[in-house]
Amino acid sequence: MATRPAPHLVDVSAADPPAGPHRLDPERAGDHVDRLFRAAWAMSGRREDAEDLVQETYARVLAKPRWVRQGDDLGYLLRVLRNTHISRLRARARRPVEVALDATAEPGAPRGGWDPEAALDARALFEIIAQLPADFRDALVAVDVAGLSYREAGAALRVREATITTRLHRARARVAAELTRAPTLHDDPPSESHA
């Protein structure tokens, strides 16, 4: 599975392959706002911060003509979003949260209570993703949240595809482990009434 694209992204990649150096089209940059908003929420863990982060990202890229050196516009925008997020964290004079959720062992397959097919609550999910170590979080945000292929994510984060694959695998396992630890995130609370 080292270099394969995410299965759900094959059509997107085929229809819109990464371009060579080109100017970012300001008229089309807004097409990515939903994906960037999801990514911003998953990075910051807070919806309100995500809105500010996305707006600041657009303000930066629209302020003057931009060259996209490699990859597509979404990958470029995601990289600016990530840099903006880091700048904002530094500006607040605090470090990005990089708390290992399970420092004792690398979780493998999710254990026990969590069913991968169960519907997830986005707010709780993004809070968990935001707490991941930065490298894991960025890979998961790029592929699973923003919808980049492995190749595009590697270009956006400037790491090899194989690195994306490894980080993504571990990030997903950590998210699953955390969901297992907090079953109320996806299960309905037990009813207190007895018919």
């Binding site: 300001p26 940059a29 908003f37 707006q55 629209l62 050196r69 998961l140 695998h169």
Partner: protein, 219 residues
């Protein structure tokens, strides 16, 4: 086991994607972004208007082009090398003051394009300025210093100059730049909002000049 792990990982990924795709940007955020786009639009409209005028005056442009071809290096068409010479000259006037409204810039500009105040974040001070120096074009140079090192920054008015042939291509702050060595000096040239900018120095490194470009071009 690896296959099972992969399958499980894919299942988790699918669940995350499904949850994420339920989330859409709120309308007020879209409105704020549309507002940002409109704010950035005037410069684009200016470019479109310029393109329209150029098309309407095609015959005149052809005549001008003919003159330029017959007289290469004429004042109307200076070269990056001439701009670099201007950047390397000693300043003839005191350094511009820091812009009170925005201390990231100094109070000097060419056709609205401001010079950066590198002292805002880097240990480089503006020490002087010179007007002109590029034949046939409005131009200005601000000289920055760090110890004995000097860097001249020239902005050339009017349309962008032709980039020098044979210069090395590089990237700084997300923009393409050209790097060349000329008479013992390092020269970096690039475009800012359609104008040619040139950094030149006899005692600064290429990396330092690229850092200067990236300072105000980087996202």
């Amino acid at each position: 086991m690896p296959d099972r792990d992969d399958a499980t990982s894919d299942q988790i990924g699918a669940a995350i994607r499904a949850a994420s795709e339920q989330v859409a940007a709120p309308d007020h955020l879209r409105a704020r972004i549309a507002s940002e786009r409109l704010r950035a639009a005037p410069s684009r409209r200016r470019r479109h208007r310029t393109a329209g005028l150029a098309a309407a005056g095609a015959a005149l442009a052809a005549v001008v082009l003919l003159v330029l071809v017959l007289a290469p290096g004429s004042p109307a068409n200076p070269s990056v090398a001439e701009a670099a010479e201007a950047a390397l000259r000693p300043p003839s006037a005191p350094a511009p003051a820091v812009l009170p409204a925005d201390p990231r810039f100094v109070d000097a500009a060419v056709e609205g394009l401001r010079f950066p105040n590198y002292a805002y974040r880097l240990p480089w001070q503006a020490v002087g300025t010179t007007a002109g120096g590029v034949p046939g074009r409005a131009a200005r140079t601000v000289v920055y210093a760090r110890g004995s090192a000097r860097v001249g920054y020239t902005i050339v008015g009017g349309r962008a100059l032709e980039q020098p042939a044979g210069a090395r291509e590089a990237w700084a702050g997300g923009v393409p730049v050209r790097v060349q060595r000329r008479a013992g000096a390092v020269v970096v040239s690039w475009e800012r909002d359609g104008h040619t900018c040139v950094l030149a120095s006899r005692n600064a490194t290429v990396a330092q000049l690229l850092r200067f470009v990236a300072w105000h071009e980087g996202a």
